[in-house]
């Protein structure tokens, strides 16, 4: 490096080096997870897993929004419904549909907890371990499920799968942040359907049933299907037959806790003041 030189706009601001090297350069690529997790590659992936129907669905998502890029989050749910995770191919598929770069899609996919980079099991079991659920038993439930689903004395960790990912009976376990069902804690979700008021015993029975191919009914939610179907619904695609659709919509929701205040008011004859239905206020014309 020369000791003097042109700087911004060709002017010379003083003489000599304007910085001093302190330490050797960090090997950024060496420490970055990009390589290890294959977040961005130059390789054009085989996108054939995303068939004509998936392309059609992707286009249908885009049509819901005034600007195409808004379709990215639902579209990532869509690719998860196909592969059980967001793979490099899934990222390239979204980029292609939305005319974005793979890096732009990857940046979004890695930001959100619900996009999984490893293939999920048939079922995703999420245990709330935020403070309130934890106090009521959520931590213990998560601990016990990890041990119960583990193998060879090794407990199953966060985002790890028991069984061959995607195969019938396989289960991915995760600890989740507050699932907004605090009055029903401790709560578990399976494929985002609610299983309320759990205990370590009931949670173990739940995963045992799932592993044996059972579909235990959620306390609140639609009849249980699998993780990929849930992801398809999050992308906005619902059962096409009316009966199937209604059965999912009409799945239970009226927990005792949810209705507690309304029920108490009914029992005691408490009501809100009656509504008089006055006209809308007059406003001066501008």
């Amino acid at each position: 490096m020369s000791s003097t030189g042109s700087t911004y706009g060709g002017s010379s601001v003083g003489a000599g080096r304007t910085h001093q090297s302190t330490v050797g350069d960090t090997d950024v690529l060496g420490v970055s997870p990009v390589e290890a997790e294959h977040l961005v590659t130059d390789v054009a992936e085989d996108l054939s897993v995303f068939d004509a129907l998936t392309v059609e669905r992707a286009q249908a998502i885009i049509a819901r929004y005034p600007q195409a890029r808004s379709a990215l989050l639902p579209m990532l749910h869509l690719v998860q419904s196909v592969e059980g995770r967001v793979s490099q191919a899934g990222i390239q598929f979204c980029a292609l549909q939305l005319d974005l770069t793979a890096a732009e899609v990857s940046a979004v996919a890695t930001f959100y907890t619900m996009y999984k980079r490893k293939t999920c099991g048939e079922h995703l079991v999420s245990v709330c371990t935020n403070t309130l659920c934890a106090v009521l038993g959520g931590d213990e439930i998560y601990q016990q499920l990890g041990e119960h689903l583990g193998q060879d004395g090794k407990r199953l960790g966060h985002n790890e799968t028991a069984g061959e990912p995607g195969a019938p009976g396989s289960i991915t376990l995760e600890h989740a942040e507050c699932l907004a069902a605090c009055d029903l804690g401790p709560v578990i979700q399976v494929n985002y359907e609610f299983y309320d008021n759990q205990t370590p015993g009931s949670a173990v029975a739940l995963v045992d049933s799932l592993r044996a191919g059972g579909k235990p009914a959620p306390t609140r939610g639609a009849p249980l299907r699998d993780f990929r179907t849930a992801e398809l619904e999050l992308a906005g695609f619902w059962p096409e037959d009316e009966a199937g659709y209604r059965s999912t919509v009409d799945g239970p929701s009226a927990a005792v806790e949810t209705l507690r205040g309304a029920r108490l008011a009914e029992e005691r004859g408490w009501t809100a003041p009656s509504m008089p239905n006055p006209p809308l206020p007059e406003v001066e014309k501008k």
Partner: protein
């Protein structure tokens, strides 16, 4: 403590079901049930009036945002420009995720049409023709119910082109999030809705000037908008028969934790914890109350001293906390405060979006220190370090997540410093000569 609010002449009942009144009906989520119970009557009344009248009505009602901040909804609506040079958007924040908060999800499951009707009225008032409901991804059953409600409303002519022959058009898109607490912050939500990482934007410009797609946008909470049809039908004076002068109306209080009967209780704003505990059957197994939050983990904790604080925006603030989302989490004497604070701090660390340094780095260091203290490896000086870091996050972060993250720590140390000190007991430097 604040001076008690003046009691209205006719004090309303302890529980005032307005938003929750249809919840007991069978298939309360169907349009059939909704229409049988005055559903969509407010929409007809609203469409017969002008947008200005509706904004005036909501202003007069004193309705304040139910998402935590309590900003007056009518004022927010009035920020929308009167012209339509650019499209206007109404965006519903249904990204409920604040620890302890569980009111919008039961509302959307039980009575999705009240939200849809509120969206149509609010969109008409703000001249918006496209409304988005951004629902937390994990709330799949709500997304399902909302989609079904949108379909039904379309088929019945309450959505789409020329709604009820009024000449007003509206589409509603139900949008699923993907698991990021930060998207509950309104500008992060907008970035997320635009297909980006959910990171907050600098304000100003506020969303009413440049929101979704840089167009005029209003972001409102679910409970706020679901209240609107009732205000249209009942009028602002009726709404003000409940609650207090500055915090009018009914509010869904979600009581969870160590109480006999946890659940959703819709009561007038200004109800106290003592009254709520009575509704919830008291403390579970009679184990005494130790600490509680008035509105989620981001609102500084209270103790048994605060049983009679009126839980409205003013009352909670005067007592040193915030009303937040009225997510009342109740913890009894068996719970360690430093442990609870550590768990919440881990949450904020996980959910910090990484955009600004005080929050990203601060929550990381806070978590590390608290974990060490809970393991029994802390020292007394850690308490000062915690408070020092909190001081560098509060008010210096890009958005309110950082402010929320320090609430449990500063309030926990304020009321329970002894518990933090007790964790450090074994690590005190021995006094010179003590063991000789």
């Amino acid at each position: 403590m604040t001076t008690p609010n003046t009691t209205p002449v006719n004090k309303p009942a302890p529980v005032t079901p307005v938003l929750t009144k249809r919840w007991l009906s069978p298939t309360s989520w169907s349009i059939k049930t909704y229409e049988q119970l005055e559903g969509y009557t407010a929409l007809r009344k609203a469409l017969a009036g002008t947008p200005e009248q509706l904004v005036e009505l909501v202003k007069a009602s004193g309705l304040r945002g139910r998402g935590g901040a309590g900003f007056p909804a009518g004022i927010k609506w009035s920020f929308m420009p009167p012209n339509e040079d650019k499209p206007h958007y109404l965006v519903i924040n249904a990204d409920e995720g604040e620890p302890g908060t569980c009111k919008d999800i039961p509302l959307m499951m039980a009575d999705p049409h009240s939200l849809i009707e509120g969206c149509v009225i609010a969109s008409y008032a703000m001249r918006s023709h496209h409304c988005f409901i951004y629902v937390r991804g994990e709330a799949l059953h709500c997304i399902r119910r909302l989609n079904a409600a949108v379909r039904e409303a379309h088929a019945a002519g309450y959505l789409g082109a020329n709604i009820l022959d009024s000449g007003f058009d509206l589409e509603i898109t139900v949008h699923a999030g993907a698991g990021a607490y930060i998207c509950g912050e309104e500008t992060a939500l907008l970035d997320s809705l635009e297909g980006r990482r959910g990171q907050p934007r600098l304000k100003p410009p506020f969303p009413a000037a440049a929101g979704l797609y840089a167009a005029p946008t209003t972001v409102n909470n679910v409970e706020t908008i679901a209240s609107v049809p009732f205000i249209v039908n009942g009028g602002s004076d009726w709404f003000r028969t409940m609650g207090t002068e500055k915090s009018p109306g009914p509010k869904i209080y979600s009581i969870s934790g160590h109480v006999t009967n946890p659940g959703q209780f819709e009561a007038p704003l200004g109800t106290t914890l003592r009254e709520l505990l009575e509704l919830a059957g008291g403390m579970k197994d009679g184990v005494p109350l130790k600490f509680w939050t008035p509105g989620g983990s981001s609102t500084p904790m209270f103790t048994a001293e605060h049983l009679d604080v009126p839980l409205d925006f003013e009352g909670a603030a005067a007592a040193g906390s915030m009303l937040g989302t009225t997510a009342v989490m109740v913890f009894n004497e068996t719970v360690s405060v430093p442990w609870a604070v550590m768990k919440w701090t881990q949450f904020y660390e996980h959910e910090s979006c990484g955009k600004c340094t005080p929050c990203r780095e601060g929550t990381y260091w806070l978590t590390g220190i608290l974990e060490r203290m809970v393991e029994g490896k802390g020292t007394e000086s850690d308490i000062d370090t915690l408070l020092d870091i909190c001081d560098n996050i509060l008010g210096r972060s890009f958005c309110a997540l950082g402010d929320g993250a320090v609430s449990p720590i500063t309030s926990g140390i304020k009321y329970f410093r002894d518990e933090f000190l007790a964790l450090c007991e074994q690590n005190r430097p021995a006094l010179a000569g003590a063991h000789s």
